[in-house]
Symmetry: C2
Subunit: 254 residues, 2 copies
DNA sequence: CGGATTATTGAGTAATATCAATCAGCGTGG
DNA sequence: CCACGCTGATTGATATTACTCAATAATCCG
């Protein structure tokens, strides 16, 4: 089993961020079966209400989870980067209430639920690792809810940028000070519950304050702490160790 | 092991809604150890950032999960009813990013993580059931995000009312047409991202349209389908069967 | 009854959405 | 290399929605 697919390696790396895995367990991950699929920009991989038999692992590119409203508007409820298993959830609840689509060209691995279920049954510790992984997803979502529900436009967008930066950094895919953001302003709006016009104006405000610098799809953060402060961002919710009692660095609650 | 605590019985009932459990597995649930705690209105059981060693099972009363902003405002990110294990999550991620508080007088059982971990390890199927249970929580949260992010005040509130009604009904604790709502208008606002003043006015609009009738803490829904229509509510996201391919009744996507 | 929440109301303000252009970048075909 | 057509970014003007502040009425609770 030399030379596992890069996607599986990334996934393993992600799991190891939060869970301690034995050699055998790691090997089991790297040996998961999969089907590689290339996706074009804006392709929908999964539509809301589908019943799926596999989970979608991002090997390359950025994907998102979304919900559609009757009037055509869209809410993005998650942002996925390489190493993320988009709907690991669906192993235990195969009828999903949301869709998954690609923000840019992407490569994904479809990993059969049966395979995931098998390794999770053989290695209980892997079941816990999977569960822990989806828990992180839920933790992020809870933070999105409070971000959307209780903040003004500017800090809302800033919070999203902080989160993405940290996640990319933790995944070894960039730095919080500079990363590629494959989202249009409209998609940012769909993530934080704003209009593209308002996103545009709010981002101009962030630029005017020197909090962000944009060039093409490159997002640069000259002074990360200042952006985190403006966003009221505290990274603790992203760090789901098995037994964390650690505290975060920036921001303070209440 | 005759006469398990009512809280455990409710929890088992809740798990069985979505998972098939063997006799032994059911017995293991009913035999979980716990510490019973009485809570007064507005008590905080858990504060954001705490590391907990137990999960909190609601035996009686209504609880909520919340996040606090620097300016003192609060976002409620979940609503828990009897039978719900508030932070089953925390079994695998004991440092929680949120708080739990009671909306009214309540009784909860604190179930040690060790006990939950033990039964989940002994019965892999229980691990999946737990995982599935937290997945439902996440599914609800995703729906809250789109509710908050992409809907006007009136449908937002209506959606919350629909959801609570269905959940109480499914838990055998009331009917979607009439149930007790232990939330103040301010708390409703904290759940849907609105001011109490605006909640008040929006609920007046709902009443004027004949969509809801309130008396004390009793919420009555004369024509449930009409409310669901106004809320753009489709209950599918609440039904997380192991292998659902069923469709919902009301509402339509896209 | 008295004090404390909670609900309701009104008036004024701020934030965000909407609508409609225009501008800029970028790939394509000629 | 350039004109064309597309998507996404930006701008301006206006309409709505929701928030704020401040007061009053209702209820609750002992």
């Amino acid at each position: 089993m030399q030379d596992a697919h890069i996607g599986l390696t990334l996934f393993l790396g992600r799991l190891k961020l939060n869970s301690t895995l034995s050699e055998a367990e790691q090997a089991a991950i790297l040996n998961l079966s999969f089907r590689e699929v290339q996706v074009a920009t804006k392709d929908d991989l999964i539509m809301p209400g589908e019943t799926v038999t596999y989970s979608t692992l991002v090997a390359h590119g950025h994907l998102g989870r979304f919900d559609l409203m009757r009037n055509g508007s869209k809410q993005i409820t998650a942002f996925y980067i390489p190493g993320d298993m988009c709907d690991l959830f669906s192993v235990v609840a195969p009828t999903v209430g949301w869709g998954i689509s690609a923000f840019g060209p992407a490569t994904v691995l479809q990993v059969p639920h049966a395979a995931l279920m098998a390794v999770a049954t053989e290695y209980p510790n892997l079941a816990f690792a999977f569960w822990r992984d989806t828990t992180l997803d839920a933790s992020i979502l809870a933070k999105w809810a409070s971000n959307i529900g209780r903040k003004k436009a500017t800090p809302r967008i800033a919070h999203l940028l902080c989160e993405i930066g940290i996640r990319l950094e933790r995944a070894g895919l960039g730095s919080r000070q500079g990363f590629e953001l494959e989202l249009t302003q409209e998609q940012i709006g769909d993530a934080v519950g704003l209009t593209s016009v308002h996103v545009n104006r709010s981002m101009q405000a962030l630029r005017a304050d020197g909090l962000i610098v944009t060039k093409r799809q490159m997002m640069s953060i000259p002074d990360w702490n200042r952006l985190a402060e403006a966003a009221e961002f505290a990274p603790a919710y992203l760090l789901h160790d098995e037994a964390t009692s650690g505290r975060e660095e920036a921001g303070r609650s209440a």
